[in-house]
Amino acid sequence: MTALVTLRNVTKSYVRGKQKVEVLHGVDLAIEAGEFLALMGPSGSGKTTLLNLVAGLDQPTSGEVAVAGDRIDQLSRGSLADWRARHIGFIFQFYNLLPVLTAEANVEVPLLLTNLSKAQRRERVQTALQLVGLADRAKHKPNELSGGQQQRVAIARAIVSDPTLLVCDEPTGDLDRQNAEEIMNLLQALNRSQNKTIIMVTHDPKAAEYASRELHLDKGKLTNDARRAA
């Protein structure tokens, strides 16, 4: 099987003040299409940095990052923005919805970058909201929704443009147990029924149990790679 995501000898370092800090040290990784990968590890291990590289939010200091056949480490800032619009759906820990827009307007935001007509956009938004079970909350603003509902809207926004890859950074980190389970069930359903490839950073072992593969990162290096039977 061809890997959807490939990282070869990736290093990433930052300069903080006068100090250069290397966060990732020669990471090699392959993620196949349809996988649900949970990326775990202690704080500061480089999980979010790795996620940012795969999502095209950041560039490696050295090494290769290829996603869906594109060498994204070689793309310019502008090209990378276009690439993200086409390939990545992002789910944040704190939902990061635009507070002034309704749920449906939030979900529509990525579609504004496409050539879809208003009617087509509306149809897609409704489908996405139905998928996450929030069709009846389309006109509500984020502050009128619970945390779990806001995260569902964020998921609808992530999937509405049918991206190649869903990237989740601690998607249950701000939710109580019940809401966290609902969100994980939703992500798992998207992975299984829609065959969405998902990469999720989490501290929560219970959330990681929903993934088909668990990867551990420690001090910038991959330490453990375990696949779970479906």
Partner: protein, 383 residues
């Protein structure tokens, strides 16, 4: 257009702040519209003044008298169509705080010079036949309830008549409509012959000769000829076109153009900082939201454009309201009276919108650039 909702929502993120900023912009552009409108109004009024009318006054001062003997000599200058005169009466009705813009004149000639003034011929004839007659503007007549046949007492702080009184009795013989002239046309005329005979001093003097020329192209030549004719005489003259005279009178109030531009410039300069500050605060508060947009695939250029459009929307929307209000103010009866049938010139509206666009770009660019330069990873991490 599809981004409108996104931009509009961003603009109203902090409603109170946006409303107060908008009010400031509205007031600034209201002021701009009023001052520039008045400025343009004076300009338009001046250009509309008749170019074939010349005003002759004493070179030393408009208030100094010139001999009545000049009349026939001016009339004899080639190219002169008609000549009338004004002698300032300085009247008031009942008390000095109710001034009447009264002048002594030769009515028959006056209405040949001011062709646009509407008056019935029989009123001019009645004036010629009635020594104590007066012709009054319709508005002034309406204001005091005067009508043809009334005998009215008019006081003057300058002229004592032969009987030693400062109150003169006049008979209203007719009214006229000066609306076609616009503002500034004196609306009370008495017979010069009667006035000159009855006043106890200053006999034989007038303050202005108003000359109507046959060909406006000859106005310059005629002006020079008149002034040359009286050069080195006891009372030298200064001859000006109607618009030049109006301009020199306006300059006595100050340079209106400079004052208007200086005030508007200062207001808009202050506004620039206010709007820039609002936009900067707004962008600073939305750092993570802008980072999310970039994460979703909005390019740096697109984010820059969205912020600039937001600034444009804020400034244009408020400027439109301000200029619209200014245009309404110009329709008010008080200003209509001052400028005649005058609306705010279209050029003022266009200038205002142009300034609003400039203001939006100058004040919106720094925050828009900041948003463009935003690093997604740092912004999402709150750094």
């Amino acid at each position: 257009m599809k981004y409108f909702r996104l931009v509009w929502a961003g603009l109203w993120r902090k409603k109170t702040r946006t409303v107060f900023t908008m009010i400031s912009v509205v007031i600034a552009f209201l002021l701009f519209g009023l001052l520039q409108g008045i400025n343009q109004g004076f300009g338009t009024a001046l250009t509309n003044l008749d170019v074939d009318r010349l005003y002759v006054s004493a070179r030393t001062s408009m208030t100094d008298g010139m001999p009545i003997s000049y009349l026939s000599r001016i009339r004899a200058v080639p190219g002169v169509r008609a000549v009338s005169m004004w002698a300032y009466f300085g009247g008031y009705f009942r008390e000095a705080k109710t001034p009447i813009p009264a002048f002594a004149t030769d009515a028959t000639e006056l209405f040949k010079v001011y062709k646009e003034i509407k008056i019935k011929p029989e009123y001019i004839e009645a004036m010629a036949k009635t020594r104590t007659g007066v012709l009054i503007g319709q508005e002034l007549a309406a204001k005091h309830g005067w009508k043809v046949g009334d005998r009215i007492p008019i006081g003057t702080s300058i002229w004592t008549n032969k009987s030693g009184s400062n109150t003169w009795q006049f008979d209203v013989v007719g009214t006229f409509d000066a609306s076609a002239y616009g503002a500034g046309f004196p609306t009370f005329y008495l017979n010069y012959s009667y006035f000159d005979e009855a006043r106890s001093f200053g006999k034989g003097d007038v303050h202005y000769y108003i000359v109507s020329v046959q060909d406006p192209k000859q106005a310059d030549r005629i002006s020079h000829e008149i002034d040359d004719m009286f050069a080195n005489s006891a009372v030298e003259t200064r001859t000006q076109t109607e618009s030049a005279l109006a301009q020199s009178q306006l300059k006595q109030l100050g340079d209106i153009n400079f004052i208007a531009n200086a005030i508007v410039g200062a207001v808009l300069f202050t506004l620039l900082f206010l709007t820039a500050n609002t936009m900067m605060q707004s962008v600073r508060e939305r750092t993570s939201e802008l980072a999310v947009l970039k994460t979703l695939g909005y390019s740096d250029a697109k984010v820059l454009t969205l912020i600039l459009v937001e600034a444009l929307l804020l400034c244009l929307f408020a400027a439109l309201i301000g200029i619209g209000l200014a245009a309404l103010v110009f329709e008010s009866p008080a200003l209509q009276k001052l400028f005649g049938n005058f609306s705010m010139p279209m050029i003022v509206g266009l200038m205002g919108l142009g300034i609003a666009v400039l203001l939006a770009f100058i004040s919106g660019f720094p925050p828009a650039w900041r948003a463009r330069q935003l690093n997604i990873v740092d912004a999402l991490a709150g750094r």
